[in-house]
């Protein structure tokens, strides 16, 4: 169902393009990932390691809480005056020799980029790791137009060569270990040394040899952006490997696809985010490479620069008073790394390029709740994500809000909605409530520690006993005193 705003723009990301929707519900997908012990070991090891590293460098920063508050405030202010800031950004980028394109959704964005690549006469592009281009399925769109997109981020390359899907925002191959990566390289990497070992340095060297040649022979690069400064028209990409820097500086043409929420008002605002992001995401004090560029510089770097501003459902998110805080996200992945559900189920279970707690609140808002109705329930509401978020997105609050939206969107009553209404009615009538307590006690006779209960309660009794109801409720004890 495509709803439209009063401006006539589609409020949600269109179906059939990009990667915001899974093929199955979260519980079904999670059930399958949970049966893979290798995946669970990989995830536990990786998330435990990043958690500890991040906690260590955050503890060093005495003003961490003030930085979080500042980050949240700057983003809230940005979202409050987004149209004005985007127009300012457009003006500055244009003045500096760039070209700005506005894309209402994934279909438009893919068409714009494909046209630009064709115009540049290229049949291959190199890519800087980018969530926005994964969101819109740009690689598939380019492939359909006869253009090969080569991912240059090491982990993203592993995913691409393995014909796999990313499972983490920052560490897309978090579900793979060294041995698995070696196998993928041996199978898929052109010109790889058949004696390749699973030593991390050897794996990185193999990728480097393969990528160097690609960097030097490809005329067009596509990137995302971590930040765009409205005041100056400057784009920023932060990364660890330097491969992004190669893409951003070597080709003749650079095309950047950026979600509209990535803009920040002023240059000084970067001071806050460049401290928050590396500590919250990779657990580094500072990321190794921060690349910034403003339009084009004659004789230095790409001589053509295009900026594609992507909506794809973001206006719909912005219209939701509770849900809009999800647009503050700086894609650090801290919420994934602390999430006990993500740690067990893995990123693929979320069905979207945005996994984990942030994905559970972002994906259903971008697509509309109907297409991702199980995601807001993929959480125990334990609150670890809210504590970890460097821009203080109250993820549990948004999850509960979206659950209400999921229930309200249902057109007819379900067994659950009938049971919930009956429970609420009972709880609002103390006599009925007491009768229900007595009925629960009758089940003592049924006994057997609650095994063999009918669905959905067998979800409980598959792995857990139910205690026998006590001989006396508290209120009976109180009345007898």
């Amino acid at each position: 169902m495509t709803r439209r705003t009063f401006l006539g723009m589609p409020t949600t990301a269109p179906p059939g393009v990009g990667h915001l929707r899974g093929d199955e519900s979260f519980p079904a997908a999670a059930r399958r990932s949970l049966t893979d012990p290798q995946l669970r070991r990989n995830l536990r090891h990786a998330t435990t390691t990043i958690r500890a590293k991040s906690a260590g460098v955050i503890a060093e920063q005495s003003d961490w809480e003030q930085l979080r508050a500042a980050g949240a405030a700057i983003k809230a202010d940005t979202l409050h005056r987004l149209p004005e800031l985007l127009e300012q950004l457009e003006a500055r980028v244009t003045e500096a020799g760039g070209v700005v394109h506005w894309a209402a959704d994934a279909v438009q964005a893919n068409a714009i980029v494909t046209d630009l690549v064709r115009t540049a006469g290229a049949d291959r592009v190199i890519k800087v790791k980018s969530m926005a281009t994964q969101e819109i399925g740009l690689n598939e769109a380019l492939h359909a137009a006869g253009v090969t997109a080569v991912e240059t981020d090491l982990a993203e390359l592993i995913v691409q060569l393995g014909d796999d899907r990313p499972s983490h925002i920052l560490v897309p191959a978090i579900h793979r270990n060294r041995a698995e990566i070696r196998e993928i390289f041996l199978r898929e990497m052109p010109g790889v040394d058949p004696e390749l070992t699973a030593d991390p340095a050897a794996l990185a060297a193999a990728a480097r040899r393969f990528l160097r040649e690609t960097f030097l022979s490809t005329p067009v690069a596509v990137s995302g952006a971590n930040f765009a400064v409205a005041e100056t028209g400057t784009l920023a990409v932060v990364e660890s490997e330097g491969n992004g820097r190669m893409c951003l500086t070597l080709p003749r043409t650079l095309i950047t696809v950026m979600g509209v929420e990535k803009v920040v008002p002023t240059w000084r605002d970067l001071e806050v985010f460049l401290q928050l992001l590396p500590r919250a995401s990779t657990g580094e004090r500072m990321n190794p490479y921060t690349s910034m560029w403003t339009g084009v510089t004659p004789g230095d770097g790409p001589q053509a620069f295009h900026l594609v501003l992507l909506d794809n459902g973001r206006s719909a998110v912005l219209a939701d008073e509770v849900g809009r805080q999800a647009l503050r996200c700086i894609r650090c992945s801290a919420c994934l790394n602390v999430c006990p559900v993500y740690e067990r189920a893995g990123g693929h279970a979320y069905g979207s390029v945005y996994p984990g707690p942030i994905g559970a609140v972002l994906s259903p808002q971008l697509t509309g709740i109907d297409d991702n109705a199980s995601l807001p329930y993929a959480s125990t509401l334990c609150g670890a994500c809210y504590d970890a978020c460097p821009v203080k997105i109250n993820i549990p609050e948004v999850l509960v809000h979206l659950r209400a939206e999921a229930v309200d969107a249902r057109r007819r009553p379900t067994a659950e909605s009938i049971a919930m209404a009956a429970a609420a009615y009972t709880m609002d009538h103390p006599r009925l409530y007491e009768a229900a307590q007595r009925a629960a006690r009758m089940s003592r006779v049924a006994g057997r520690r609650g095994r063999g209960l009918p669905p959905p309660l067998n979800g409980w009794t598959g792995s857990r006993d139910l205690p026998e109801p006590p001989a006396q409720t508290f209120r009976e004890w109180w009345a007898d005193r």
């Binding site: 999670a30 559900v341 993929a378 209400a404 609420a424 598959g462 006590p470």
Partner: protein, 249 residues
């Protein structure tokens, strides 16, 4: 002090010993406990499952029942969390301004047991005796919604005879999450398995917490695996005394 007991529907129906212990403990400390009639459920399950409008009459009832009292206590971090962080939201969403402000007022007078003892009554040694090896699971809502921090551990540390052992990865959720345990049973069970592994690694014979719901979950798993480790609510430990122990012996 006159203290109104918000028993919570789960403790009332399934774990009355958590509530009777709360009453005995507070009376032993010289306070008067009253049990406001007409109380049932805070509506958290409805709100958290998406049935916000079904929760409205329950919020209205809770506020009406508890509004007359100055100090309210519940043996549950989760239910107090619902009162403090959800009731006003539910009322606001229903467009009821009067209910919103009354809900906020009741919330400000509602305490989880360890908060009441340490912050309001100013006591950390409640004179309890409990000769067992005990590990403490800080439930998510006590920890991250209410920020009870070290209050329960401080109370446990002062219990005579009690050997308090640290639970590894204590701050990780046990996987309960209300209807999550049923809707996402497999993920919930995977989380529970890790929690149980950590509990068993401590060698404790009792796992305690401030929430009957999490204990229902952890205890249900420990019982299914016949581990012999018991789950006991924090209130029961704090209510235990040497005399009682002697009588039982």
């Amino acid at each position: 002090m006159r203290i109104a007991l918000f028993v919570t529907c789960l403790a009332d129906t399934m774990f009355p010993q958590a509530a009777t212990s709360t009453v005995r403990l507070l009376e032993r400390l010289g306070h008067e406990v009253v049990f406001p009639p007409g109380q049932t459920c805070c509506g958290q399950m409805h709100t958290n499952t998406g049935y916000r409008s079904d929760a409205v009459p329950l919020v209205r009832r809770h506020v009406r029942v508890f509004d007359p009292y100055d100090v309210i206590v519940a043996p549950s971090g989760s239910c107090v969390g619902a009162v403090r962080h959800q009731h006003a939201m539910v009322a606001r969403h229903a467009g009821d301004r009067a209910l919103t402000s009354r809900a906020e007022s009741v919330a400000a007078r509602t305490y989880e047991l360890s908060e009441l003892l340490v912050d309001v009554l100013g006591v950390t040694d409640v004179g309890a005796y409990y000769p067992h090896r005990v590990t403490y699971h800080p439930t998510c809502h006590s920890l991250r919604m209410l920020r009870v921090a070290d209050r329960p551990r401080t109370l446990l540390a002062a219990v005579r005879g009690l050997d308090l052992v640290e639970l590894p990865a204590a701050e990780q959720c046990c996987g309960f999450g209300g209807t999550f345990a049923v809707k996402n049973a497999e993920t919930s069970t995977a989380m529970l398995a890790d929690k149980m592994r950590h509990v068993l690694s401590t060698g404790a014979d009792v796992c305690t917490a401030g929430d009957a719901s999490c204990l229902l979950h952890i205890g249900g798993g420990l019982s299914r695996l016949r581990t012999g480790v018991r789950t006991v609510h924090l209130a029961e430990i704090l209510a235990s005394t040497e005399q009682e122990s002697a009588v039982r012996r």
